[in-house]
């Protein structure tokens, strides 16, 4: 938890020597508290005070980073319990579990298929974040083989699931050159696991069923010199997850409780009973950092990734595209002209639809301050005046020889006024939903 100016002042030399360029130590302390100055500006802070101040300014949830052959993932460093309070920063990683008991060729095939998954959501590419390889076979040769097989098929970050220190060691060698997450140390194996993780410089998961045991474990691991830890509180179903993960988030953010100030890993499919897709969704909204899925099904993965995107958008600013003129399917001078707003979801809904329909078109995107058609209309940001101004300024008049513009069906009421604001243009009212645009153009667009 951040210290107040006064608390910081107590840790400063209090000599008012002004070398930090502030008139007094107190003034400097106030600026530090407001994060408008840096501690190193004062040459006289004692080592002890420095350590205290640094500890106090460390994020309440440690940022833990893992890396594959190509691509990194950092989770943690969250600052709020509810997204409206500021925003959630580091999207939880979605990993697919792969068992080493499968033949290497089969592993390669499965991972290659999952790795090829790429969906587009409002221009943002959505993919899996990596693979969690599980030592299920009990055969040491299979362990290393599985890591190699996965690395042959994917460059994404890995999680290694084993509670045996010797297996972990062999695996980390097979994974050398990357920075995987090692899962897991528990009350029985932590000393050996800590050594392995420390030698390989990889983050380690601490696993315990109760928060008391978990805190005891992380303290032992911290004392053993490990800084990058991840928590596995062994959650079972929706209720247990909500309680444990909420408590962990609160302890870190509201109490600055260091022993549990780490990101969390969950296994929504582990209990076997719960609806794993819906449980994974809960973990996305409520505080997981790494989520390991048991099955690869695009029909659920796509939804989960979109949910993650939605929950982690900045509530202060809607995702938007640049206003202006967009060309779709190489439009010509007789291609239709459509207008829409610059809210990303709106823009991509209509742009993808037109593109998919095969129609060449000019898309005029007005500056509606990132709002959807109806929201912008209701807020006065997508009115006749703005549309007319956009049509006149984006240069579409020089591109087409006709004078027809199609507006969204939801704002049909604007057509009369728009005729006045855009003299010489015919205003056509399009369908309400983007899905119907292809059929509409087919029926209505005649030159």
């Amino acid at each position: 938890m951040a210290l107040t100016g006064l608390e910081i002042y107590k840790l400063l030399p209090q000599t008012n020597c002004k070398e930090c360029s502030f008139p007094t130590c107190l003034a400097f302390a106030m600026k530090l508290a407001a994060k408008q100055a840096e501690l190193k500006a004062c040459p006289y802070v004692s080592e002890e005070s420095k350590a205290k101040l640094e500890a106090a300014s460390a994020p309440p949830i440690r940022l833990v980073e893992i890396a594959g052959d190509d691509g990194k993932l950092a989770v943690g460093n969250e600052t709020v319990l509810f997204r409206h309070e500021k925003t959630f920063f580091h999207r939880p990683g979605l990993f697919l579990r792969v068992k080493d008991s499968l033949p290497a060729e089969e592993i390669k095939k499965q991972v290659a298929a999952a790795d090829a998954f790429k969906a587009d959501y409002v221009g943002i590419p959505l993919t899996l974040d990596g693979y969690a390889i599980e030592a299920a076979s009990g055969d040491p040769a299979a362990f290393a083989g599985a890591v190699k097989a996965v690395r042959a098929a994917s460059k994404k970050p890995l999680i290694l699931l084993t509670s045996k220190p010797d297996v972990a060691k062999a695996w980390l060698e097979a994974a050398s050159g990357t920075r995987p997450l090692l899962h897991a140390a528990d009350a029985s194996n932590w000393e050996a696991m800590a050594e392995v993780a420390k030698a390989a410089k990889v983050p380690l998961v601490a696993r315990a069923e109760t928060l008391d045991d978990l805190a005891t474990l992380t303290q032992s691991l911290t004392k053993a010199g490990l800084e990058d830890l991840v928590l596995d509180p062994g959650v079972k179903g929706p209720k247990d997850s909500l309680e444990k993960l909420t408590t962990l988030r609160r302890l870190a953010i509201k109490k600055n409780f260091r022993p549990l100030g780490f990101p969390i890993i969950t296994f929504p499919g582990a209990g076997g009973k719960a609806d794993d897709v819906l449980l994974a969704a809960e973990h996305i909204a409520k505080y997981a950092g790494f989520i390991v899925l048991d099955t690869f099904d695009p029909a659920s993965l796509y939804g989960l990734l979109v949910l993650r995107q939605n929950i982690y958008t900045d509530p202060q600013k809607p995702i938007q595209v640049q206003p202006g003129m967009y060309e779709i399917n190489n439009p010509k001078d007789d291609s239709p002209v459509l207008v829409t707003t610059n809210f990303s979801i709106t823009y991509f809904a209509i742009a993808n639809e037109v593109e998919g329909s095969g129609w060449p078109a000019w898309l005029v995107v007005t500056d509606a301050e990132g709002m959807s058609v109806l929201t912008a209309w209701a807020a006065g940001k997508f009115d006749s005046e703005r549309i007319a101004k956009a049509v006149k300024t984006v240069g579409v008049e020089g591109k087409v020889k006709h004078r027809k513009v199609i507006i969204p069906g939801h704002v049909a009421v604007l057509s009369g006024e728009l005729e006045g604001d855009l003299p010489g243009w015919t205003i056509m009212v399009g369908p309400r939903e983007a899905v119907d645009i292809g059929a509409f153009l087919k029926a209505m667009w005649v030159n």
Binding site: F82, Y121, A215, R250, L251, L278
Partner: protein, 320 residues
Amino acid sequence: MAVEIPKEKWSGTVREVTLGATREQGGTRTRTLTVGGETAMPHHAFEGSFPHPPALALEVRDRKPTDWSPLLLQAWGAAMDDPAAWAKAAEQAGAELIFLTLSATLADGKANTAANARAVVRKVLEATGLPLAVIGPGQAEIDNELIVAAAEEGKGERLLIGTCEDKNYRTIVAGALANDHVVQSKTPMDVNLSKQLVILIHDMGLPLERIIMDPTTGALGYGIEYGYSVMERLRLAALQGDSMTQQPLIVTPGEEGWKVKEAKVGEGVPAAWGDWNRRALNWEALTANALIYAGADIIVLRHPETLRRLRGVVDALMAA
């Protein structure tokens, strides 16, 4: 190491609202539905009480809709041709509330009528013993005409009636006052607007125990985050003791989820979207599931399979 578990203590409670009236209470319902009463953030059972599980409702229409996904038509089959049969099927599928929506037009394209609204409400009331919501097409003038008639027809049944919006709340509230119903107070995703409309409705003399707030929701991928956060903020305000935000929340993820392309369309979509049927079901379920964690008290769905899945989540959250 003994970790001291932080618990939140709140001063406010969500109001309890009951839908449906039995014979003894002047109606004909075989069961009633009470929602609300929570004393902590959604499903934080470790620090508050949750006397009623979130209720799962299914939407039934006065006539077979022309714009619903073929997957929904498949799920309900011939039952959709008759609102009474549809309501029965919804009851069998596990609904705790029938959410009857009236169309703007009749099958022949002419404007829907008060007489038709009455007949449908009567039919559905006779077909099932569940509490009933009767909601207009969402256009002020038509809503007023249809809902006033429906409210009279269902007098004493403690229906949930709507849509009660800033434009037309007066007529609908008058209908609720005269016939002993509850209203759905609907506002577009804004904490202050939600609160304001509750105040206006209450000022007309309707007790707060007869108002349910609909904060409006968007579908997954199409604005759900706005609704989700508005609900969390409303619930925080309620627990902090802001009286006019203490109404239970109703949301319509079925309608929103099935409106979008991911649910509606099976062909010509990216391969990465996966199997259409599973994707569409996930779209509704993921939208609804998120809203449960944001504080939804009544969740209106469209597909029986989604209801089944969410029942599992609700049961797990409410387990002792």
